[in-house]
């Protein structure tokens, strides 16, 4: 039995991120009816494989008119949509209209910039939200173009599913439905939590601009170093005292070297000198050597891999993080549950209406 098998969702989403959010509900057994509009509907460039993730485990329905759609929504527990606010209002699919017909409805809205404010009607594009979040100029090396990661929207996907579950919990306790709002902007901002919050609390120029990898705050936690075969190695040993006695010899240093024999010297007084030293040291051996040393000595760090790593990683398969869907590899099920596990994607079936 799926954890959410008693929940029905009418899913009028078209964008990858919003549909991936409702797919998280479907993974746990919710009956998610993805509505495809006979006329028009939102168009989005869809990359290969996106639908395998965003539409899995859902049923599909064609709905001819909004009156029929409203009637269908009244029978459901949840209505999820990424249509723009003006369109929802124009079509009588806004919260007030639908809640008048069914007070217990959970109405989940996936927008670009949230329901309030003068920019609520801006297009829901992850690029616009990312540009606005403040992280793009910080990510590259100094002097390089700002970086768009594309990942910000995925926080919004999970927030959509989480918001629905929070509202469902309240519904079950009280019988009261409500409106849930998440946006690309809120997801991008949440993903940048620590950077944004650090700036809010501390301020200053350094946090606004890219920081060279040779100027990292902790030589042993955060920076990447190139190895002799051109692959990169990154280290994550924030509490350097714990690792230093084992790490120093690996890079050809005496743990008692007076330049680096305390955490404060490594991370403050002689921080830049240590980074320069490590940059030279890592260049002397290939990545496989560094990986071996990290594993054998119980250090923390790794070789920075490319997508072929998770694609071929047995642990990713064993944990169902990468699965086979309709003969193609796909991102799988990120949450394991012992009693009500997420289902393997079933072939979506078209339901004519």
């Amino acid at each position: 039995m799926g954890a959410l098998s008693d929940i029905t969702v009418i899913d009028l989403t078209a964008s990858f991120w919003a549909s991936a959010g409702t797919a998280l509900l479907a993974d746990f057994g919710a009956d998610v009816m993805q509505v495809e509009e006979v006329k028009g509907g939102k168009k989005e460039e869809r990359l290969p494989g996106w639908d395998l993730l965003a539409r899995r485990n859902k049923r599909r329905a064609m709905v001819a008119d909004d009156a029929g759609l409203r009637a269908t929504i009244e029978e459901a527990d949840v209505f999820a949509t990424d249509l723009s606010f003006p369109e929802l209002e124009a079509r009588g699919l806004d919260y007030d209209t639908l809640a008048a017909g069914k007070a217990a409805l959970i109405y989940a809205c996936a927008s670009g910039f949230g329901p309030e404010g003068s920019d609520r009607d801006l297009p829901a594009l992850d690029e616009l939200a990312a540009a606005r979040t403040g992280m793009m100029p910080v990510l590259p090396q100094p002097g390089e173009p700002p970086v768009y990661t594309g990942a910000g929207q995925m926080y919004s996907s999970v927030m959509l599913a989480l918001g629905v579950m929070l509202a469902l919990h309240h519904l079950e306790e009280t019988g009261e439905g409500q409106r849930v709002d998440v946006s690309l902007f809120s997801g991008n901002m949440y993903g940048a939590s620590l950077d944004i919050q650090a700036y809010l609390a501390i301020g200053g120029e350094r946090l606004l601009h890219p920081i060279s990898r040779l100027d990292a705050g902790n030589p042993m936690s955060g920076p990447s170093y190139p190895s002799s075969d051109g692959r990169w190695v990154t280290l994550t040993m924030p509490d350097t005292d714990r690792y230093w006695p084992r790490f120093a010899p690996v890079v050809g240093l005496d743990p008692a070297d007076p330049r680096f024999d305390t955490h404060d010297k490594r991370c403050e007084a002689n921080r830049l000198e240590l980074i320069q030293y490590l940059d030279g040291a890592f260049c002397r051996q290939p990545a496989v050597h560094w990986k071996q040393q990290i594993v054998e000595l119980g250090l923390s760090g790794d070789v920075i891999e490319a997508y072929d790593y998770p694609a071929n990683d047995e642990e990713a398969r064993r944990n169902r993080y990468v699965i086979d869907v309709e003969g193609s590899d796909s991102i799988g099920l990120p949450i394991y549950m012992s009693e009500t596990p997420a289902a393997m994607p079933a072939e979506a079936r078209a339901v004519a209406r």
């Binding site: 949230g114 309240h170 306790e173 009261e176 709002d181 950077d195 350094r206 944990n319």
Partner: protein
């Protein structure tokens, strides 16, 4: 009433991934009890600097991800401490942890131990690599992100790999765990039983990489896994462009500018991306976000005042623009460099070109759109006895909204309250626990 009123969560976590999962639940009204060792507590309390900048007079790192929580200082190395934990487990709905299995075994707080005490308990693990991975290697955010492959595909070719930002993977892991907990609580309603769940950092970060990892998995096409230069973006109409630097302008404060200024000023203030200023830190970039079609091309060339580009036969069709993308981007780079970002946004707004200035963290901090939706909020910080700005609620619920009621508690601030009021200990018993070193 809060969405999660009546839900009690034991939050045996530290650093970021685990605590932020508890924070989501606490924001919506769950009673979240952050259990910390009496000696120093959560290691996140010890953060002294961020990117080599001292944290200042309040440690936002700890105080924000542990907001709305209670703190119970408990030594699980003692028999008495574990006994308190077991009593609390009997009264709890959720047990949340991101500690190592080694510690959980040592303290006898694994799922197998705790479900014997409370079969209705939802036990949420934020592991590094998943329940079917027998690995004891450390799982820091960055180390796991390095394995997902996303870092390698970002930035210009030949540039070093790029980390998505401090705690970016932990933030996703915590969000997944919070979602999993809510799903398990729903299931419990039907089955009457709790269960074990694991939302690992690896699984969460693979999901985070989905927009490009998923196409790669489906096709094995290296376009999705290798760095792609902006100079060769397949659609030049959806790309980043540097503009002319402006003289530094005075920063506009939130809420300022409501009075009617000049029409020009008003238009700029109403530009789609909010306030603009040049902080003197470098070129201001724009993100132009248009599809490669004839309508968008006409709008863009009109707004850019570039009849020569509009007339260039190489760029006359979508196919031509895609084929000659490098030449078109080079030409557009030259055009964009002639005006400031503010000027371009003004023109784009008039012409219907969708674009945004690429803002920095100072600008998002003042973005009225973020404030209007409570993505930022202000709250009192006891540590410094003043109002501070904190990130707000990324999920809005209309009838049971989340809130920031308190920032992170002092170590052990609620120990006595929990022991006496929740667990029914007498003050004498509390004294004995203190004597034994089981509590702070």
């Amino acid at each position: 009433m809060n969405a999660l009123s009546g839900i009690r969560v034991i939050d045996l976590t530290m650093w970021f991934q685990g605590p932020v999962a508890g924070q989501h639940l606490a924001d919506f009204g769950a009673e979240v009890i952050h259990v910390e060792r009496p000696q120093g507590g959560d290691l996140g309390r010890g953060v002294r600097s961020i990117k080599a900048v001292p944290v200042g007079d309040w440690n936002q790192y700890f105080l924000i991800i542990n907001r709305n929580k209670k703190s119970l200082a408990l030594d699980l190395n003692t028999d008495q401490g574990r006994e308190v934990m077991y009593k609390l487990v009997a009264e709890a709905d959720v047990f949340l942890t991101n500690l190592t299995s080694e510690n959980l075994e040592k303290w006898q707080v694994t799922y197998d131990h705790l479900r014997e005490i409370n079969p209705r308990l939802v036990y949420a693990m934020c592991s590094g690599f998943g329940p079917f991975t027998k690995s004891t290697r450390p799982s820091f955010d960055l180390t796991v992100q390095a394995l997902t492959g996303i870092m390698t595909r970002l930035g210009e070719p030949s540039q070093p790999p790029i980390y998505l930002g401090m705690g970016s993977g932990d933030a996703m892991g915590g969000l997944m765990a919070a979602y999993g907990i809510m799903v398990a609580l729903h299931a419990r309603r039907k089955t009457g039983r709790g269960q074990f769940l694991d939302a690992s950092l690896y699984g969460a970060q693979l999901f985070l990489a989905a927009p490009t990892l998923q196409p790669y998995l489906a096709t094995r096409d290296e376009t999705y896994s290798k760095q792609q230069s902006r100079r060769n973006a397949p659609n030049p109409l959806s790309n980043t462009y540097p503009t002319r630097r402006d003289a530094p302008q005075e920063r506009l404060e939130v809420g300022e500018g409501d009075d009617a200024g000049s029409e020009d000023d008003a238009s700029r203030r109403n530009a789609p991306a909010g306030r603009l200023y040049d902080d003197g830190g470098g070129d201001k970039w724009l993100f132009v976000c248009m599809p490669n079609n004839q309508d968008a091309w006409a709008k863009l060339t009109t707004a850019l005042y570039t009849p020569e580009l509009a007339a260039d036969p190489r760029f006359a069709t979508p196919e031509g623009r895609a084929e000659h993308n490098a030449a078109l981007i080079a030409a557009l780079d030259t055009v964009f460099a002639k005006q400031t970002a503010a000027e371009w946004i003004y023109r784009f707004t008039a012409a219907g070109v969708v674009a945004a200035p690429i803002n920095n963290l100072a600008e998002v901090a003042e973005d009225p759109q973020a404030w209007a939706n409570n993505y930022f909020t202000k709250t009192h910080c006891d540590e410094v006895n003043r109002q501070v700005t904190v990130r707000g609620l990324p999920i809005s619920l209309s009838k049971t909204p989340g809130s920031v009621r308190t920032l992170g508690p002092e170590l052990g601030q609620h120990t006595e309250e929990i022991l006496t009021e929740t667990l029914g200990y007498t003050w004498d018993q509390v004294g004995e626990l203190k004597e034994a070193g089981a509590i702070l």
